[in-house]
Subunit: 259 residues, 2 copies
């Protein structure tokens, strides 16, 4: 099944994207690296998706602090292990890749000499977009609403800019139990700036058994639908609704007429 | 190898993402759908990547007009064929998925009843980001610089908004032989708005044999490096350079300090 060389020597670290969930959306490169690792480090819900190889050590973390997980992985690589850092979605998008390089910069001098590579994966917005139709068919931006790691003023500035530029907007980390407010505050801003009939989608756990999809408008949307497994998409002024074989969809045309 | 059900009945259309190029970056779902199609429709350089099944009909297009390709694919599905519309990267991002739904809306009444689904793929910015380090680790936007389908004034408005919001910026379709100017005009705007030391990457054909990567700064960048196979990445004010095992990288930290 694996018919390409896997570059994963002892004492190296690979940051591996699992994609949104199902095996048919995980790349062969990620599958091969998962199998070749001596140690896998990750947030427990992600490691739970993997069938470990014999002798493989799993380091599951309950800890939501990504930088601590990155430091642990780097220390294991320094011991000569083949360390896979496991990330849901694409590790390069709001995920573990940046945390690892941040940990390197702030950490032990030896870490800067480690062989570290990133393997991409499908991100939540791509799974959501495929189910919704083609909402990301034209210029878009992706904003994390988590204010654990950045001031809310910067999030507001970016939401405002996204409206000014009439981008399609993908909102990551819209809400959590500990942090229910951001998505409500974001909708207050979006409703002030954008037309009420702007299409909105709440795409939850797309690709997993409990996936759900709600298509609505900015006026009618209930921001309370969003949880930590939800990707929220807000259309641009060009995003259109259509019904395809009885199924409501959204798409953003590639062509824009001159004003 | 394919151990999941493939949903691809006669008289349906699947929009299939090939990813950036190499087989190890194409999802198993895309591989399975490519094998199950009776007809594959696509721009010739993408179809050339595929080893056709016996009896499979390939409809290679030299035509850059995506909407015509979409209409052809829809007509084949109406004849009862299992039609795969093949797209490089992610068909949902600046690619064929939006073109198909646009063609449906403008086309024959029967097309609205067709069973049409989209399968995601890795997009060029994700391949580029993996090679560069983790430049998309924080809020970002993706802008196509092609002014074939939209007025340049809208592109300028979006570049301005991307600067106002201090987003990381991924530029698709930065230049082509027929259209060399957009990337130069974009850099003129970006240099006016952003600091000269802002990290910039020109990531060309990442994942393919002739891949190349240039990391530089906004002041030093030569926009003429960009061609139609290049993804250009512009950092935010937080994007950092580091040297990892002798290799220069860029990453954007997830955390932002309060101003």
């Amino acid at each position: 099944m694996i018919d390409f060389p896997v570059d994963f020597p002892d004492g190296s670290l690979r940051i591996i994207g699992l994609g949104p969930g199902p095996a048919e959306w995980m790349t062969p490169e990620s599958t091969a690296l998962l199998a070749a690792a001596s140690d896998l480090v990750g947030y427990k819900p992600y490691l739970d998706r993997i069938a470990p190889q014999p002798g493989q050590r799993l380091h599951a973390s309950d800890n939501r602090v990504e930088i601590d997980r990155a430091r642990h992985a780097l220390a294991l690589a320094m011991e000569g292990r083949r360390v896979g850092v496991v990330s849901g979605g694409d590790p390069g998008i709001f995920a573990m890749a940046a945390a690892v390089f941040e940990a390197v910069e702030q950490g032990e001098p030896g870490w800067a000499a480690l062989d570290i590579k990133v393997t991409p994966g499908l991100s939540a917005m791509q799974a959501a977009a495929a189910r919704i139709g083609a909402p990301l068919g034209h210029d878009f931006c992706a904003i994390s609403l988590s204010d654990n790691l950045k001031p809310w003023a910067l999030i507001e500035r970016r939401l405002q800019a996204a409206c000014d530029g009439d981008f399609v907007i993908a909102l990551y980390n819209p809400a959590s139990k500990a942090r229910p407010q951001p998505i409500h505050d974001a909708f207050t801003l979006l409703r002030r700036e954008k037309a009420g009939e702007t299409p909105v989608a709440f795409a939850r756990a797309i690709g997993r058994k409990d996936e759900s999809l709600v298509l609505t408008t900015l006026t009618s949307a209930d921001p309370g639908l969003a949880d930590m497994s939800t990707l929220v998409l807000i259309g641009s002024s060009a995003t259109r609704s259509l019904v395809q074989a009885g199924r409501p969809l959204l798409y953003t045309p590639r062509s824009v007429r001159s004003a």
